[in-house]
Every structure is written in structure tokens, then in C-alpha cells.
Subunit: 216 residues, 2 copies
């Protein structure tokens, strides 16, 4: 009974996700669904993206938060356009929430839309929202055993950004173990090691995005 | 419609949680529901608890993981009794999962049972499992804005363990801001600053547990 209910919810979600995707494609708009645990550095990553590319690209952000508009305020301060979704308790964004938020964006004027999901390494990976790519972040502070413990997000993502590498000297975390485990779950993952603090790896990640924008 | 379904699930959960609680009380057993984001240090905390108190207390652990038995193996290596729940995708433990796991424990022989929940700062806080106290961890690496963004877990918990304080010199994180925000959401929170690496704060946290065990 409960399984049937969950299946209905996911079916309804897929239908709306397909509608969103069509709208994105019609506007030649690359859409990224950005996911991670709380505090892996999603918002800081977007601030750095804004600093690097806001003069070349028109970038919009949909900010998903359970409560507060703190992140959307940071995104606007970084010179990007932001729409806030407060989920009021819900642990992930779904396609319907995104569809509603799109009313507040002029998609034809954008080159890139990033959907910053709720900080949660589990539930967001279950819900397509119509994105071209799921991109996940894992901070080295979370430890090198995480791919085995939370496999779905690694399985669903096109890109893994291993963040906060500047902290590696102070941690017992083997970054090669993270990469090996992640690739064993999803051999097609593109992996970048990044630090928003030192700037390591950000240019490669931005190049990856720009390549996909050109091809869209 | 969907709200009604969720309400039914929570009602059913509360009923089983009350049965669990009665069983715990009948055995004078203190039960802690330990929650945090992935990688905040729950399992390491339990390893340290085992090292410090396994000669004085009989401690059992229920290990909740979406997949893998990595954590349960670490707990057994630390000399504690562990029962594994693999949730097979589910993002939290509920009262029914705990009730089933209790068959594998001799409650009358335990002084303390710790339920290590799935790493998730959102969903586990919605489900009582019959525990005496919810205890949450927040790593300083997650940033000082988290209480405002994920308020429910702070609201539901008796104790906040702010972990990985040894990393503070390398972070832009104001620990006083965390405490102020957390107490503004839940003024009755007991807060300990801890580092499982240096040992800071662990004795105070262990004393808190031992006081509650004596009173139970």
C-alpha cells in the first residue's frame, strides 16, 4: 500500500519533469541539479561560479531550502539571478516545485540554470526535475566511506565534485578511496577535486559547464 | 490527499514508538536516537564511547544505514554489541524498523542503547522511535548557518554535540554563532563542543549520559 503511494508520487513527478525538460530544451538552456549533504559548499560553489562567469554567461539559480532565504541572498549578492523555494519541511525538491518556480524566471534570457537542492545526500537523488545533469558534491570532511553508504546519488550523477580539498592535510581521509569507490558505483562519473577557498579545480569545472552550454 | 497519507504514516509510527518506549522503560534502559548529516562523526563518537565506558556499562547499538555494514563492523571492533538495519534506500529509521531490530538484542542486559540513525539532517527528526532523547551532531565543517536552515532537528533534540572542533583553526566557522542560533530555536538544548580526535568535551558528554542512566 505504501509502496503504491510512493510509486504514484514518482510517476506524477516524472511526468512534470518531462514537461520541464521540454521547456528547458526549447530554450536551449543547460540545467544542472546540484546536490550534496548540508554544508558541502553548494552555495559557495555558485558564488565562485558567479565571480568567474557572470560577465560571459547569463546564469539563473533556483535555491531550495527547507527554511530561510540565507542562500538566495548570497546568490543575489554574487550578481546572479535567484528564485527561492522554501520547501517548508520537505527534504528535497520535486519537479512540481521547479515548474512553479520557473514562472519567476525568463528562461529565454539564460544560458545556464542551476537548481541548488536541499542539503541531503539521500532523498534529492530520487526526484528528477527535468535537469540535463545531476551534479553532486562530497566534502572531504565527510569521510572516504560515503559512496558505499549513500550509493544512489553517486549512481544518478554525471559529475562528482570532491570539495574542501584544502582541508585534506588536517583529516584522515583518503581522496583516492573516494574516487575508487565512486567509480565502482558509477564508472561514467566525471570527477573534479575542488577547493572554493584556494580555487583548486574550479577552472576545470567551469570549462566542463561551458562545453555543455555550447553543445546545448 | 498526500498530506493525509503522510499523517497516517506518522500516526502508525507514533503507536509503535509508544510500544518501544514501554519496553525500554520496563527494562530501565536509556535509549538515545543519534542523528546528524553524513560524516559528522556519529560512528567515531560511538567508538570513543566504547573505549571509555565499555568496562563500566553494557552498551548496545542499532546501526541504521541505507546500504553497507561498514559502521556496524566498526562498532563491533570497538567492543560494543551491534545490530544492523539496512534501510535499502529509506532515508531515516522509523519505529517499526527499531521494533524488528529489538528481537536481536537482550534489553534486560543493557544499560544504554544508542540508535545510530541514517546520515541525514532532515528526515530522521520527523520519526520518534521510542527513544528517551534525541541527540544530534553538527560538524563545524558544515558551517554556522545550519540551525536556521534545518531547524526541526535542533527543535527536537535534547543535546547538540558540535563536533570536529579541532578543525576550527582552518575554517571560516563561528562556533558562537552556531550555539546562539541553536538556542534561539530550542532554548532547552544542552550543548557540548567535542572533538573525537583530540578528546575535547567527550568526558562531559559521557557524564551527561551516565547521569541519565542512573536516573532511569
Amino acid at each position: 500500500m505504501r509502496v503504491a503511494v510512493v510509486k504514484n508520487i514518482l510517476d506524477a513527478n516524472s511526468k512534470i519533469a518531462a514537461e520541464n525538460r521540454k521547456l528547458f530544451d526549447n530554450n536551449n538552456l543547460l540545467v544542472i541539479n546540484l546536490m550534496s549533504s548540508p554544508g558541502a559548499g553548494k552555495t559557495t560553489l555558485l558564488e565562485k561560479l558567479g565571480e568567474a562567469l557572470r560577465d560571459q554567461l547569463r546564469i539563473g539559480v533556483v535555491e531550495g531550502d527547507i527554511q530561510s532565504t540565507l542562500d538566495a541572498e548570497r546568490i543575489v549578492s554574487a550578481g546572479l539571478e535567484a528564485v527561492q523555494i522554501e520547501t517548508d519541511g520537505a527534504c528535497h525538491l520535486d519537479a512540481n516545485m521547479i515548474q512553479n518556480a520557473l514562472n519567476d524566471l525568463n528562461l529565454a534570457e539564460l544560458d545556464l540554470l542551476v537548481i541548488e537542492n536541499v542539503g541531503n545526500l539521500v532523498c534529492p537523488a530520487e526526484f528528477n526535475v527535468g535537469e540535463d545533469h545531476k551534479v553532486m558534491m562530497l566534502s572531504v570532511t565527510e569521510g572516504d566511506d560515503k559512496p558505499y553508504k549513500y550509493p544512489l546519488m553517486f549512481k544518478e550523477s554525471s559529475v562528482l565534485l570532491i570539495s574542501k580539498t584544502d582541508l585534506l592535510p588536517y583529516l584522515r581521509c583518503d581522496i583516492d578511496k573516494i574516487k575508487e569507490a565512486a567509480l565502482s558505483i558509477n564508472p561514467r562519473l566525471t570527477i573534479f577535486e575542488i577547493s572554493s577557498y584556494t580555487g583548486q579545480g574550479l577552472a576545470d569545472w567551469h570549462n566542463w559547464l561551458q562545453d555543455r552550454i555550447r553543445k546545448k
